[in-house]
Symmetry: none
DNA sequence: ACATACTTATAACAATTACTAACATTTTAT
DNA sequence: ATAAAATGTTAGTAATTGTTATAAGTATGT
């Protein structure tokens, strides 16, 4: 780690770091390239003029970050630990080399965070949020379903999304749900997501529904099917014995996380 | 875990924590980043002003809105005035009620900025950058092509994108180009984009190529067709008379912006 | 309810760290 | 070998961060 980097091989390297989503810090770069901090300052100023970066105090950030804004009203108070625990259980089913569908929703988003460092996976998702989390994971190929972008919503739905799903068969689909009736009926708040969820199950060898216990016994607007059609429900320990008994009649397996 | 990180690094880290649903506590953050609590207070106040969080006594919670970023390296800086002028010319062809395809590229991205306040348009695009610009435009329905997300690249390509294009017919396609040969041949740096560009022309009644003059006479890797297939080339006044004459033989119309 | 103790937030100034500019030195190219 | 470009050094300036003191918010006990 000693030879001084000739010329502006550094720039190439720096731009590479940017593509990986890294933040640039002056003194780290100076050490990395074995040059003085002054040189890094000059490099960064040039890169700024070329429009690659924006300078910040102490370093630099990518010039143009495109970002999507979503409304996540629910996220705040609710059940984050439970969702994480559910995602952990779901993770146990994932093997390297598999192809997955990851549905929209905050619980499946937690699973996306856990999959980040996995090797050799293909993930198909209608969720821009999931795609954003996985975009820099070198071991994961992310396929975004197409479709209409709705303001404040992170997911792509509609005919396009359904058509694209028809192009693939995957090993496992991980779905969310906004409500599960005690008869095992699966609900979404949004009808369009319900349709996409139905289609997902048809394109996967196995389907797991990830749903925290607060939504069990809650019905919602759009029914997309029944727990009878899936391999397992994964939920948290907040599920009551009565709910468990009731759902067990319909669902072949119910996995309850520790938390 | 000792080194102090500058603000931008802390900010990124804090936002990451937010996305994972952690609630922020001032003294924990101070320890985590090895800075004083005063600094964390200042950070959180800044983040509040930027709309990322809401402050609570002793810490902070996520705001309702959450942002997800896609990074891509682009130098919007180079030739930006020319690109803006080209986009202005392209804009003249757009009428309310139309359906458009907007290709990937920095010039078409400029056009997206101009379309933002248009009424009653449908825009189909393979570009996450274009989609992010248009996401909050109430008068525009944005359809994102599906496909594989490549690291550091803002566009969706591949079989999926092409299949989705087959689902639509539009009024106008606005394309970019990475190079145009003096024989009118259209080039892309990326083969996958070349294929998508070919398909776009088939699905549009009219096609316009938006390309700043610096790329005229430059050939690149992947040919996607010829100016003979399009309705017009829109470029800037940097085009030389020789280039103009040469391309005029092939292209039915060449529109030159003032700048 | 009120007052008390306790924690957290802000303000002002001091200390630290990062940035810029000018000049010296090294490296690269002709 | 010389000019040109790039890098390093130093000192001075600007921005951020830390410290202390004071204010404001929360929680408790009577």
């Amino acid at each position: 780690m000693a030879a001084k980097a000739p010329f502006e091989q550094r720039k190439k390297h720096i731009i590479e770091l940017l593509k990986q989503g890294k933040l640039l810090v002056v003194n780290e770069l100076a050490k990395k390239f074995n040059v003085s901090e002054m040189t890094i300052h000059r490099d960064l100023n040039k890169l700024q003029q070329q429009g690659h970066i924006e300078r910040t105090y102490g370093g630099a950030v990518p010039a143009e970050r495109m970002e999507f804004e979503f409304d996540f009203a629910s996220r705040r108070a609710s059940n984050q630990k439970a969702k994480k625990a559910i995602a952990q259980e779901a993770l146990k089913f994932v093997q390297p080399g598999q192809r997955l569908i990851l549905d929209t929703g905050t619980t499946t988003l937690e699973l996306a965070y856990l999959l980040k460092d996995f090797e050799n996976l293909t993930v198909i998702t209608p969720s821009l949020a999931v795609a954003s989390v996985l975009q820099f994971s070198s071991g994961i190929q992310t396929v975004l379903l197409g479709g209409i972008i709705r303001k404040g919503s992170p997911d792509l739905t509609g005919v396009v999304a359904e058509k694209v799903l028809d192009m693939f068969m995957v090993d496992i689909a991980f779905q969310g749900a906004d409500g599960i009736g005690l008869n095992g009926e699966l609900f979404n708040t949004d009808m369009r997501i319900a349709k996409v969820d139905q289609k997902m199950r048809k394109r996967a060898n196995q389907t797991y529904v990830l749903c925290d216990s607060s939504k069990i016994g809650k019905i919602d607007f759009a029914s997309n099917g029944s727990l009878a059609e899936v391999n397992a429900l994964i939920t948290d320990s907040g599920i009551t014995p009565e709910q468990f008994q009731s759902l067990k009649k319909i669902c072949s397996e119910i996995i309850v996380s520790k938390i």
